[in-house]
Symmetry: C2
Subunit: 319 residues, 2 copies
Amino acid sequence: MIDDLIKRMLRGDRRATARLISLVENDEEKAVEIVKKIYTHTGNAYTIGITGPPGAGKSTLLDKLIKVAREEGKVVGVIAIDPTSPFTGGALLGDRIRMQRHSTDPGVFIRSMATRGSLGGLAKATNDAIKVLDAYGCDLIFVETVGVGQVEVDVVKSADTVVLVTVPGLGDDIQAIKAGLMEISDIFVINKSDKEGADATYFELNMMLDLEKERWEKRGWRPPIVKSVATTMRGIRELWNAINEHRSFLEESGEIQRKRTMRAEEEVKTIISSRIARVISKRLDEEEVSILIDKIVGREMDPYSAADLILEKTLGVKV
Amino acid sequence: MIDDLIKRMLRGDRRATARLISLVENDEEKAVEIVKKIYTHTGNAYTIGITGPPGAGKSTLLDKLIKVAREEGKVVGVIAIDPTSPFTGGALLGDRIRMQRHSTDPGVFIRSMATRGSLGGLAKATNDAIKVLDAYGCDLIFVETVGVGQVEVDVVKSADTVVLVTVPGLGDDIQAIKAGLMEISDIFVINKSDKEGADATYFELNMMLDLEKERWEKRGWRPPIVKSVATTMRGIRELWNAINEHRSFLEESGEIQRKRTMRAEEEVKTIISSRIARVISKRLDEEEVSILIDKIVGREMDPYSAADLILEKTLGVKV
């Protein structure tokens, strides 16, 4: 079945592609099989992460970027990371409404991904979905996150170009979050820049960049700051140019190779964690575990000793 | 050294307590030793998670809750999860400024925790810091998150009572994030409820709760909705009462035992992941790994096959 789906995907079949993404997202065994089989067909897509605090207008911005990319004939993939219900495990927003108008364009493939599980589940699923879209033939793959937590940062920082979208006049909390994201960003966008405070935000970002001067000089790339009003297309072409300039910089400096090496390392680490969790849970005796847990709750045994016991029993590993 | 620090902490020494938290946060080996040694002294503290989107006024609200708790003579611990710089690994906000006035009160212990690492690092550090504060003698431990990602949800959902703080008039993105947090929340707070839209937000939350009626009825607890204006203390006592009512509910229904069992399970899982990552990295031959990574980047080997190879080499595990 998988061989057939892959064959159809490589011929450009969208339904087969969608099905493969669902499989890599939901079924670990099948994910392994699929990635192994399509891997030689990957490596052509350029990935762009779009991140920033909630309400910054990322979806609208992305909608316009897709438009520009399509005008240049690029085949575009979008992976939109949705905040998830920890109970139902389902994505909340479905495929983003604002981007829906592209969904009938055969050159655009939009996919939502739910943020389920913290132990690398999302990062792994996203990486695998990127591979499917890459093998399918996407030239550009956008990864958009809504969240601002560590998992989302992990997802987006593995992109070739990271775009941080902010808006004028955010509170202290958001400033702090932005600062956390600043260091992984290659391009800054001040969206809704027709609102009050846009100049102040520009000034502030610029100052933060000045303070980090040494780092940018060493890297050879100072992140440009683009002002935009996504709803009216203002600044979108500048952003598009900035993305292309960053891409040229990465390719000419050889930096892209270093980035992709780092990404492969991260990916292998993530896979290892998830594989090992699987092996352990297969080998565990549920009753034994529940006795251990009761002991922990009753303060007869601490959780570290219980973990060590489980590791020894299931893997024969002495920590 | 650790024995001495623990002895001092158990006698109420704050500096020793602070030092122990730093150790469990930064040094895995010492974290194991400390938790093993203090574990029998834990199990007395009640934990309260405070979460919600950035800008909702959580720190101010918490500041006022501390005030009320202190009036009742409770010893209070606070763990504030800060968004982190993924590069420097440092926390950005330090101990929250708004809570600083409590820092000279010997009955309040405030601690910031950085969101570093995605593979359970934060959840583990937070759990261990809670144990230290518990053994130190805190009656109540508040865990406050600024982020809204999966890691933050994981951290806060292990609290005995989870309080979700929201504000009137947030955009769609935030609505979605709230929805993700709603299911793990025991009490809702509409802070800044003197602002326009508070009634609409109340109505909306109430409707969401009505839709989830079956679940709440099964659990036996319908989350109350408290309107507050933290800056003027409005609603703070109601919130305090709601927290105490939820606590009574948990204790009388036996639900608290179930919650703590789940938490212990989660904790053991988290510890296992981090222990195994450590073992693997100790046993890895760096040169071999770098050859594998180069092969992945060059599309000669897929990341799953590389992960399997590493698992077999380091742990003798066949997946």
